[in-house]
């Protein structure tokens, strides 16, 4: 029998519809694969019984000819999405044991369309991190390993990126057919780039944030990580949609994104922003970018140099806006209504002890930065100024699009994945620089798609990023497919983790 975990989501869907395989059979393969992959630490909670029960219901639907768009498709859910009756922690000690009595809007959409849930995926604590090393439940290990020039494989543990590290690792290790993720500064796209998978952060407002644990509300957006551009398009169609419970959710129809996957890109104008050519950018990243430009040109796109002059200010401005919003959002964890509680001599002492013990180092640091930049006397100098700079960053993109550019091509990350413990232990800013190419997109609320483009000198995946106009995810899927078709096949690693 063929190994069903090797199918793409689209292939599995088609085999289920043709009744070549059953949903129970498919889900059982993934349940077994997850049980053998505990060393990757991709899941915080596994829910095999739930997946198999949902799969049985899916088989009945299929038998009756009532299959829904994702009928019987096994998914992993980032543990930032509230799932009714299943522990939801945001990878934080402060939420350990929290069982939501409600379901997030996006996961509810997935179950409505027939998907099944394999479990809750590990992440950086409260989605704050770029390596999945800040999780209270331990780091996620990437299925990828470095390969020396002589072909020897290093056993150094590699990070899957973050914050959606569990989502990216689980898809790359074939532990699910697709995963939900979230992206505040690059948390879908950077881990996708690090693991040779496809990830899309849709336009701000495309997916409801209702029931997703909040980090920075003006930047947070839900999206999928999958094996292929087509799979990501299929998932986004189910995840997206208007939700009156999220005031920033936009009421525009959700297109059938899969239709866009095979569309021609002839005549599309692709902007190449000169400001992304950073000083000291590694040669292999420059070469990958040049290769991506060549692939799109060969597929019929027109390449145009553009300028996004405020690019370099995006990352510092992000590290004011995001912590400021986080400090406000995370004020709710007080040890009274849910989660961890440490007793104190009075209520203030209870708060301070609970939050000191419940939040990890990176989260405490960001809450404190956010508190400082919002405090009396500093608000104008920091927060207000950062929001003005955000207007300038958005204006750069608006001008490029107004001049006829359809999408922008950039590298996804300034480097391939690194080893556990290799970055950011002395200086937090070193880790923050991972998001230099992705964070502008959140600051401007735009859609961004990452597809694998090649391998680094040490055999790790590298990604290309396409940035689109608001609500033109379809263009990104068409362009992404063109890159996917042109790029050498990035074969996901074979298991060493059993």
């Amino acid at each position: 029998m063929t190994d069903l975990t090797r199918l793409t989501l689209a292939e599995a869907r088609d085999k289920l519809a043709a009744r070549e395989i059953s949903a129970v059979e498919l889900n059982q393969c993934f349940v077994d694969a997850i049980a053998r992959a505990t060393s990757l630490n991709a899941f915080i909670v596994e829910t095999p019984e739930k997946a198999l029960a949902q799969a049985r219901a899916s088989d009945e639907k299929i038998a009756k000819g009532e299959a829904r768009p994702l009928e019987g498709i096994p998914l992993g859910i980032k543990d930032l999405y509230a799932t009714e009756g299943v522990q939801t922690t945001a990878a934080s000690h402060i939420l350990e044991g929290f069982i939501p009595p409600y379901e997030s809007a996006v996961t509810a959409n997935l179950w409505r369309d027939g998907a099944t849930m394999l479990g809750k995926l590990n992440l950086d604590e409260f989605a704050m991190g770029s390596s999945n090393e800040t999780s209270y439940f331990g780091p996620v290990v990437s299925p990828w390993r470095r390969k020396a020039a002589d072909g020897r494989i290093s056993d150094a543990k590699i990070v899957p990126g973050g914050s959606s590290g569990g989502s990216a690792a689980a898809v790359a290790a074939r532990l699910c057919l697709g995963a939900t993720a979230t992206d505040t500064g690059g948390s879908i796209r950077q881990p996708a780039a690090f693991t040779g998978t496809v990830g899309i952060k849709p336009t701000y407002g495309r997916c409801s944030r209702w029931g997703v644990v909040a980090f920075a509300s003006s930047l947070d957006q839900a999206g999928p990580i999958a094996k292929t551009v087509r799979d990501a398009a299929i998932l986004l169609r189910s995840m997206a949609g208007h939700d009156p419970r999220d005031t920033t959710s936009v009421d525009v129809p959700v297109p059938d994104y899969e239709q866009a996957v095979d569309a021609s890109i002839r005549g599309k104008v692709i902007g190449i922003p000169r400001e992304y050519r950073l000083d000291g950018l590694s040669e292999e990243i420059v070469a990958l970018w040049e290769q991506g430009i060549a692939w799109l040109r060969e597929a019929g796109a027109e390449i145009r140099d553009i300028s996004l002059p405020h690019t370099r200010h995006a990352l510092p401005a992000y590290y004011i806006v995001a912590p400021a919003e986080a400090s406000s959002n995370l004020a709710r964890y007080d040890g009274v209504r849910y989660g961890l509680r440490r007793t104190g001599k009075d209520i203030a002492d209870l708060y301070e002890k609970t939050r000191a013990e419940g939040f990890g180092k990176e989260v405490r640091r960001r809450i404190m930065i956010g508190t400082y930049v919002l405090s009396a006397g500093y608000y104008d100098a920091y927060y207000l100024r950062a929001q003005k700079i955000r207007t300038l960053i958005k204006r750069d993109f608006d001008l490029a699009y107004a001049s006829g550019v359809d999408a922008i091509l950039t590298p996804a990350t300034p480097s391939p994945a690194f080893a556990l413990g290799e970055k950011g232990s002395a200086d937090p800013v070193e880790m923050y620089l991972n998001d230099v190419f992705t964070v502008t997109v959140n600051m401007a609320g735009l859609p961004g798609l990452v597809v694998p483009g090649g391998l680094s000198a040490d055999g790790l995946p590298l990604g290309l990023q396409l940035i689109g106009r608001p609500f033109e995810e379809e263009t990104l899927f068409s362009l992404g497919q063109a890159l996917e078709r042109a790029a050498p096949a990035i074969l996901l690693p074979e298991s060493w983790w059993h």
Binding site: R337, D346, A356, M368, G445
Partner: protein, 95 residues
């Protein structure tokens, strides 16, 4: 701009996070590293630029001022670390 130890303690209290004496100097240097990273923003000309309030040109949706939810005390209290007679329990606030 940079922060001194007294400011670190003040921020910690504002954020309701207790910080030990041993931890404070490390936090101070980490916070200062981040503040020096964002320092370049003070040189950007933002004269006449409106601060961003929404990335998309959209009007904030409003809903009718009516009760749409409620009567679920069990669900609200289900995850409480301490509860009694349908209430959350906290240390004595008023003497």
């Amino acid at each position: 701009m940079s922060v001194d130890l007294a400011t670190v303690r003040r921020i910690a209290h504002l954020a309701r996070i207790s910080v030990s004496e041993a931890e404070a100097p490390y936090l101070q240097s980490e916070i200062n590293a981040i503040l020096s990273f964002v320092e370049e923003l003070s040189a950007v000309d933002v004269e006449g630029v409106e601060p961003m309030t929404s990335v998309l040109p959209m009007r904030m949706k409003k809903r009718a001022d009516e009760i749409t939810d409620g009567f679920i005390p069990e669900k609200v209290l289900a995850n409480a670390p301490a509860r009694e007679d349908g209430f959350f329990v906290v240390p004595k606030v008023i003497e």
